[in-house]
Structures are given as C-alpha cells and as structure tokens.
Symmetry: C2
Subunit: 315 residues, 2 copies
C-alpha cells in the first residue's frame, strides 16, 4: 500500500462513511485529535488532507504534526472545533458541508416547536401506554400556528426555518449582523428587544467564541412567561444556566433543544423538566443528508488534491 495521503479523524464516522473515504485514496485512521501525535513520522509526513468528524478541538499543535497538510475537510456545517486562525496562518485550507443539511435542521426546529406546544411526546405516551384506551383524557395545550417568532441569526438555516414558519402564519422577527432582504419580516438589532416582541425564539446562530452566550440571561428574562426557546445551533450560543433557571422556575413556558453544552453529557437538570422537548443533536441526522455531507466532504478533499477550486471553503 502506498503512503497515506488522507487522515481519517473521527470515531463518529459510520461504516458507510469510512468505507467511502477508505476507497478513495491511501489513508490512515485515528479516533480524534488526541491520537494524532502517536502516528508514525512517515505517516505524518505523507498526510496531505484530513477528513474530520467530531467535536474535539483540532488546534495548531495537531496541524504542526503534518508538514504536508493542505486541507482539513470538516464533516458538518459547524467547524467550531477547528482553529481556523491557526489553519490560515499555516496556509491550510478548511472546508465544511453547508447547505446540504439546511432542510433537515429546519424540519427538526419546526417539529420541536410544534411538539413542545402540543405536548406530543406525552400524547404518544398516553396512547401507547393504554391509559387513553382506559379513559384517561389529554390536557389541552397550546396553538403553534400564528405564533410570533424571533429567529436569532438569519443565516441559511435561519431563513429555511423562517420560510417554513411563515407557512404556519407566524409573524417573523429576526436578529442578524445587519438587516437583510426579507418578505416583510421585522429586523431587530438587539436580541433583548426582539425577545420582548416575540413568544418564541429559534436560535440559528453559528457556533464558536463570537456567539458564546449570545442568548443571555437578559434575553431569556425578556422573553416572558409565554416564551419558548428552540435551539438547533450549538449549546454554547445560550447561557444554559440561565435557561435552566427560567425553565425550572416557570419564568418561560418551555424549550425544544437539539444541542447542549458539553453534549452528549446533558446537564441532568434538563432531564427532570416536563416543559422541554429534547433531541440528541440529530439536526442533520437523516440518511439522505448525511450521505450528501459525506460526499461533499470527500469532494472537497479530491478537489484540493487535484488542484481544483474547493466546493465549500471556510478560509
């Protein structure tokens, strides 16, 4: 076998994904960044591309292990695990897999909002347990259509969510670095001001340092007792302690969360709440979308090695 050109980094790759990458070119494999230093020097010297999947930090120290490294292709739209500044300083390109997952993530955001309003997990449990058949009734719940919704971060995913919610006759508000062209949606420069104006916040920010705690205690407090928080972005974008306090004290109505600080180690306080809908970071988790993401990741690596333009460069 020839010297490996590709380092596959990520215990999280599925068998199908691993097989596709392994068939593409000579490769080596590690579970994640902590195992990179233990690779043989010959292997490290021949690696030109990393196919990366996971949330463990990939820093300049790891990049320096690979003198021929030219591209880090991230699996996923969020690349907050990768030190982009360090990559750029070393002339290393980083790519991600945007857009192909927008629909799935937006679907889950909308469905978590309806599931939370209509108490759907409890509804399924009432029927499935036989308690409904035995005569137990189901409490009335809350209408979703017509809600006033604030999208925190009107990027590509935020816009997909807003387009869907508009079809549910929701009044759309949004925050963003600058006002955008929209079909009459209401722009707010301040998330606190938007939280005062809406019943539902849907967080669709990018991750990373700049957005850490962007949905702050003040924003959550401004939402009020009818407030629902939906998060499909990163756990880091919300002050999670403030959110838990508000949920426990009933100062907001509920939440639908696909992402958490320190996931998958979810703060146990969440597990005791009956006013939250919880998902295991499965926003992009359909077979169809994950296959598109894997193919786009590999296409970026192949483009780099062929000297062609990258499909979805980050830096």
């Amino acid at each position: 076998m020839s010297d490996p050109v590709l380092l596959i980094s990520g215990a999280a790759f599925t068998d199908e994904e691993r097989a596709r990458l392994e068939a593409s070119m000579p490769f080596a494999f590690v579970s994640g960044p902590p195992d990179m230093a233990a690779l043989e020097e010959g292997t490290r010297k021949s690696i030109r591309a990393i196919a990366f999947k996971g949330h463990h930090a990939l820093t300049g120290a790891e990049m320096d292990l690979f003198p021929s490294l030219g591209v880090i292709a991230n699996y996923g739209v969020g690349y907050d695990a990768i030190d982009i500044a360090a990559a750029t300083a070393r002339g290393i390109k980083v790519t991600n897999t945007p857009d192909v997952l927008n629909d799935d993530v937006a679907d889950l955001a909308v469905a978590m909002l309806i599931a939370q309003c209509r108490n759907m997990v409890a509804g399924d449990a009432l029927v499935r347990s036989g308690r409904w058949s035995a005569g137990e009734s189901f409490p009335l719940n809350r209408q979703m259509s017509g809600s006033t919704v604030g999208i925190v971060g009107l990027g590509r995913i935020g816009r997909e969510i807003a387009n869907r919610l508009a079809a549910f006759k929701c009044e759309i508000h949004y925050t963003s670095r600058s006002e955008k062209e929209t079909p009459g949606w209401t722009y707010h420069s301040s998330p606190v001001e938007m939280a005062k104006a809406v019943d539902v916040l849907v967080v669709a920010l990018v991750g990373g340092k700049e957005t850490e705690g962007h949905v702050s205690r003040q924003v959550i407090d401004a939402l009020g007792p009818r407030g629902i928080v939906i998060n499909i972005s990163r756990g880091s974008t919300i002050d999670e302690g403030a959110l838990l306090d508000a949920l426990e004290e009933g100062r907001i109505a509920g939440a639908g969360l696909d992402v958490f600080l320190n996931e998958p180690k979810v703060d146990p306080r969440f597990l005791k709440l009956d006013n939250v809908h919880l998902q295991p970071h499965q926003g992009s988790g359909s077979v169809e979308t994950r296959r598109r993401m894997a193919k786009l990741q590999l296409a970026n690596i192949e483009a780099f090695l062929a000297g062609e333009p990258l499909q979805t460069p980050v830096n």
Copy 2:
C-alpha cells in the same frame, strides 16, 4: 329558574365550556344521547337547542324526544355522530365549528409526519433516560423535506396541510371529488393511482358513511415500502386492519395517527409497533382553538334563538 331552553349533551365538555353554556340561558344537562329519554317530559318539551359534544350517535329517536327542538349545535367540525338526514326530515338545523380548528389540525399533521420521519419520540427518550449522556448513539433516520405527498381530500384542512408542506419543498398531489384550483399541485381521481405516485399519504377526509374505508387495502398496498400514512380525519376513513397488516409486515414504512376506529379503545396491535407515532385525537386540542370552537357553538345557538342566520349551518 325558567324552563330549560338548552340541553347540554356531553360529558366531554370542560368546566370552562360548561360554565359558558350554563351562563347563557336556562339549561339541562345529560352526559350523552343514552340519557336523553330519562329527562322529565316538561324539560324535554321546553328544549329548543342542543349543544352537542361527543361521538355517541344522536339519531331521529332522540330528536323525537324534544318536540320544540330547532337546532343541534355540534362542537367540532366532524358531525358524523349526528344523523343529518333525520334532522333535516324533522326541520331541525344542525351546525358545526369548521375553520377555527384548521390550523391546529394541520400543525399536528405536519409535526406527526416529521416526528415519524425523524424518530423524535425515541430521540427525546434517548436524551431523557440518560442513555445519550452515557454514550449511546442515535440511528440515522429519514428526511421529510422534499417528500412527495398525497393529500386524500383537499378540503379546508387538507389545503392548510398542503400549504404548510409546500414550504417544506414537498411535491403536492391530491385527491378530491373534483379537480380544484391549486398552485400547480397534481390531481388524481383515483386514490390508488395517487398512492403509487407518492411516498406519504395524509388523510384529511370528512368522516361518515361515504368515506368509510376510503383508504382501502388496495390504496395501502399501492403505497409501497417507503410509504407513510398520516391520519387526522376519522379512524373510519382507513381500512384499519389493512393498515395494521402493512405496518406489522413492514410493507409500508410507518404511520402517524391522531384518530382510530373505536377510539379511545385503540386496537392493541398499534401499541406494539415501533414504526408509528400515536396521538390521542388532539388535532384541535389547543386552549385557543377549543375556546373558539365553544364560542362558535354558542353563537350558532344564540343566532337560532334570535331568529338570525346561523353562522355555520350543516343542513
């Protein structure tokens, strides 16, 4: 107290609904049609209106107990429990509560479809049980956006569902008594032909004898292994035995059901399936919508008694 003008019929009325009706005019109360014959003759003679809630049959025999009866105001859009022909033959008007519940029912239909595709009840359970925190992973599932969907019955609710699904980039097909004006949706005169063309069937028919078993064994067989059935209409509109057979044998992919034959006595075969999402007939079950339904029911009764046009007559 004056002689009762209004008969409130339905153990299912909530306290708020009962209080509103009772405050409106002199009334009597029964749990349902079987108790009507036991009312005193004086009471029966003075009753001019029935506020009806429930699924127990209300036939000509019961109507004949009330010689002054002029209107039966049903709580709900579906009035299949009431013998309309018998009412019409006696000069009794029937009203229902259409439109005010369309949004809620459409919301639930869309959310059941996403919940089924994305396996959301299992996702919530994985997080909530602590198994995700402990390292268990969640299987990939199925994209909803972009599905090819057939709406069985493009009435007011069917159209609300289609409008929402169009925002999820679904290709919309429909059956209906006749072709309708749509934004380019595909009409089929035969439900079997439509089932061959789509992945998802959403049943939005009216109930009653004419639509009994409309989604037949042939329709379900035509749907194929990627097929998902969503029903927010009445349990009677689907051949439930055929649906159960197909679900148990994996000949279709799944179902999301808010309604059942003989509900709330759900066929126990459903409770063993892991490819169904189940809801306790809560389509219109938000506080906001139920209040609108209750007010419309009373408004119809008050209009009748004032000799004014009915707001939402059925016959």
